[in-house]
């Protein structure tokens, strides 16, 4: 029989057990986990919009391998408007820039283990002179001074020659890249360079496979986080985004050329909200409205001014979720001379309307051609159409297949179109030449005044004098309303959550030189 005392004892014990059981679990002290190095997948897969043309082409191999497989003698530091050493240690300018003598770094190796020396530079210059449009208009000859010194003679005496040496196209390749070996007239086989990657496999329009170039990683004292770097060529921009979302690729990136085959800017915000890592860098590439300025009605500076004043750039960037910046200057602030020029593009629709009324052009019909392949530009054009309608200009949009677009553009059958000036940092002066020099085909705007200033900019070696010419040039373009800047473009990479890379590594070479193009030497995909 249970006594009252036993009953109370059992009850107390039971209640205590119950209370203990219901009590919040106190954390059990465990030894602190030591941080472990994440393990990375052997393969990194990138979705890219353009074939890498690893067997060559009219303009040589693609921009991606030019940046990742090859290196250049010099690189460009946009912020300081300086050319900085890369494969070359230093250089001397002779005969007003007609001759540049480069002293090369020693101990640099190509990915096949052969030595980088003056012979490789001479071979590249001669190969480019015969096989490349930019090379043939640039180089005259190259002479070996000693094993690590090479003297290059250019066709013209100008500062632009040095600027060109930092260009994609002037990347140095091994004489073994062609067959017969070292023959500038030889057949191009595969690029062999001193860059971070070496080519392993390639199937045209399908994929390219790279592996880390151990000599490059050794030179910079870093270790790769992948064994194979696979690039899948996915032409359609929306399909590329879908490939990222489905996990088919680890990241997608922009075509380094700038201005085409990129991740649609109107999707960057959405991707960011969905948890993808968006790396972006503003580059000196400005989207503009280009006019057919040689024919009516835009041969009239007042008409161009009206369009310029009517465009609300803040609205334009909203299309892209404010992922890009409105262009109130011709180029980004980091570009030489922009800040000092003090030129600001204004939004003043009332003034624009007044100009149109004064010209008696209210209700005028103009056409604007757009390339159908670029969904972002179709949206921008629709917005501009509405903004110009408000001041009395009726814009007929012609959204055309790329081929038809180019045909109309080349035939001059348009009044307005969207275009871009500038490029990634290294192309700043090259595109200055291509867009504003009277001698070029792909012009955005040229007048006697701006053409003359462009010539002076590309000739002048003295940085300060060049800056003064640039300032005058920005002012002239603004006064003549040659083009209407819309927004500053960016270079982007969108990566899955388990991709490891910092912004610094994505847009800087290991020696600290800033790059406009995304770099992938430091990427790794964490094992989940």
């Amino acid at each position: 029989m249970i006594t009252r005392r036993d009953f109370l004892k059992y009850m107390t014990l039971g209640s205590a057990t119950l209370l203990l059981g219901c009590a919040k679990k106190t954390p059990i002290a465990t030894p602190t986990a030591t941080p472990t190095t994440p393990t990375y997948k052997a393969e990194f897969v990138l979705g890219y919009g353009k074939d890498h043309r690893l067997r060559g082409g009219k303009w040589g191999i693609g921009f991606f391998p030019k940046i990742h497989v090859l290196e250049r003698l010099v690189e460009y530091d946009l912020k300081n408007d300086d050319y900085v050493p890369c494969l070359a240690k230093k250089w001397e300018v002779e005969q007003d820039g007609k001759v540049l003598t480069f002293e090369l770094n020693k101990g640099v190796k190509f990915s096949d283990g052969s030595e980088f020396d003056a012979k490789a530079v001479k071979f590249t210059v001669e190969w480019l002179k015969i096989n490349h449009p930019l090379g043939s208009e640039t180089f005259e000859s190259a002479e070996i001074v000693d094993d690590y010194t090479v003297s290059i003679t250019f066709k013209d005496a100008m500062f632009f020659n040095l600027a060109k040496m930092a260009e994609f196209h002037m990347s140095i390749m091994s004489p073994k890249s062609v067959r017969p070996e070292g023959d500038p007239k030889g057949e191009f086989v595969l690029p062999i360079g001193t860059g971070a990657f070496k080519v392993v496999d390639y199937k045209e329009e399908q994929y390219a496979v790279y592996a880390p170039n151990e000599f490059w990683y050794e030179r910079f004292g870093i270790k790769p986080k992948f064994k194979r770097f696979v690039v899948r060529f996915i032409k359609d921009e929306d399909t590329r985004v879908m490939a990222l979302k489905s996990g088919e690729v680890d990241a997608i990136s922009d075509y380094s050329h700038g201005g085409s085959d990129y991740t649609p800017r109107n999707q960057l915000g959405l991707l960011q909200r969905e948890g993808y890592k968006v790396f972006k860098r503003v580059i000196p590439l400005t989207w503009i409205i280009a006019f057919n300025y040689k024919k009516e009605p835009f041969n009239d500076v007042k008409m161009r001014e009206a369009v310029d004043l009517a465009v609300n750039r803040d609205e334009v960037v909203k299309i892209f979720d404010n992922q890009v910046l409105p262009a109130r200057t011709l180029f980004i602030e980091d570009a030489p001379g922009v800040k000092e020029a003090g030129v600001t593009y204004e939004y003043n629709p009332e003034k624009a309307k007044q100009i149109i009324d004064e010209l008696g052009c209210a209700g005028i019909e103009v056409n604007m051609i757009v390339d159908k392949a670029q969904s972002d530009q179709i949206l921008v054009c629709q917005l501009i159409q509405q903004q110009l309608k408000d001041i009395g200009i009726n814009v007929n949009l012609e959204i055309l297949e790329t081929g038809a677009y180019k045909q109309k553009r080349d035939a001059g059958e348009y009044d307005m179109r969207l275009y871009y000036i500038g490029g990634t940092d290294r192309r700043f002066y090259l595109r200055m030449f291509w867009r504003f020099h009277p001698a070029r085909k792909w012009k955005a705007y040229v007048s006697e005044r701006t053409g003359d200033l462009c010539e002076k900019i590309l000739t002048e070696f003295d940085k300060e004098k060049r800056k003064q010419y640039l300032i005058e040039f920005y002012r002239a373009i603004h006064e003549e309303h040659g083009v209407v800047p819309l927004y500053f473009d960016i270079m982007t990479t969108v990566a899955s959550k388990n991709v490891d890379i910092s912004y610094e590594d994505m847009f800087h070479y290991p020696n600290g030189i800033p790059f406009g193009e995304p770099l992938f030497y430091a990427v790794g995909v964490r094992e989940v």
């Binding site: 649609p264 109107n266 959405l270 909200r273 012609e398």
Partner: protein, 286 residues
């Protein structure tokens, strides 16, 4: 007499048929929306970036798109575009197809053989693929225009009318009233236009109604592929296409034009089915 008969058929048969009534109601609803678009909806082109990607609300019943445009206005104005283009295509295709089919069936012989082979060639090529190719060619040759789409679809669409008309005419030309007309010396063109085609009109109307749904789908498909009517003109397929990247964040951009495409196709199919029931019943009674 004929008018009285037709009106009696409409009253007693068509409106008593449930499929007809529902189909007709849906089409009437969409057509009214389209007709009244300038009254009931705002400017479909008006952009307002501050209102970008807004969900449906009292102010914007269907939400807004990526340029802040009111989707209700765009969808309702899109009804005008889609219905006008579909009607134009159907009428032109019907006129061409019926004439070719009637000539082929009535005269027979080598004319029938040639037209028959041409029809076979057209039927052998997948319609949408053919349309895509044609629109591409026309755009390059003549520039961008709504008429490119109309022309491209007409080129492939007349074939079904020609095939059906030919079959009907083949059986009609042996009927007594045709033989009588021939016996009294009536001209072939007179017999065709006065006696043969009017008697084939029932099945052709059914085909035309059912075909409207197909044409709307084709226009929307071309619009979705970016080959149809070009922005900023509101068109359902093209609005649907513009919303595909926002399907997870702004599903209303794709939902409402999709709904209207589905409704209009359903409406024309129901009306077509109903008309077939009514007209077949009438044929059986005779």
């Amino acid at each position: 007499m004929e008018f009285a008969f037709a009106s009696e058929v409409f009253r007693s048969r068509i409106f008593k048929n449930n499929l007809c009534t529902i189909g007709f109601g849906i089409i009437l609803f969409i057509a009214m929306l389209g007709l009244l678009a300038p009254v009931i909806a705002d400017d479909p082109y008006k952009t307002n970036l501050a209102e970008r990607l807004k969900p449906p609300s009292l102010e914007h019943p269907f939400g807004t798109d990526q340029l802040g445009r009111d989707l209700f206005s765009r969808v309702v104005h899109g009804a005008r575009t889609s219905l006008f283009v579909a009607m134009t295509i159907s009428l032109i295709s019907m006129a061409i197809g019926c004439l070719i089919g009637a000539v082929s069936g009535y005269f027979g012989g080598i004319i029938d053989d040639i037209i028959g082979r041409i029809i076979d060639v057209f039927l052998a090529i997948p319609e949408l693929v053919f349309n895509i190719a044609l629109v591409g060619i026309f755009c390059v040759a003549y520039g961008v225009s709504t008429w490119n789409v109309i022309l491209a679809v007409v080129i492939t669409n007349w074939v079904s009318y020609a095939r059906i008309t030919r079959g009907i005419v083949l059986s009609l030309k042996e009927k007594e009233f045709v033989l009588c007309a021939k016996a009294i010396g009536a001209r072939d063109s007179y017999i065709l236009l006065r006696h043969v085609i009017p008697n084939a009109i029932g099945p052709i109307i059914v085909l035309a109604t059912l075909n409207m749904g197909n044409v709307i789908m084709t226009i929307a498909s071309l619009g979705f592929l970016g080959l149809g009517i070009q922005p900023p003109t509101p068109e359902w397929g093209q609005i649907l296409n513009s919303g595909k990247n926002y399907i997870t964040t702004a599903p209303w951009i794709t939902f409402f034009p999709g709904l209207f495409i589905a409704l209009s196709v359903l409406g024309f199919n129901l009306l077509g089915e109903g008309l077939r029931d009514v007209l077949e019943k009438r044929t059986l009674e005779y």
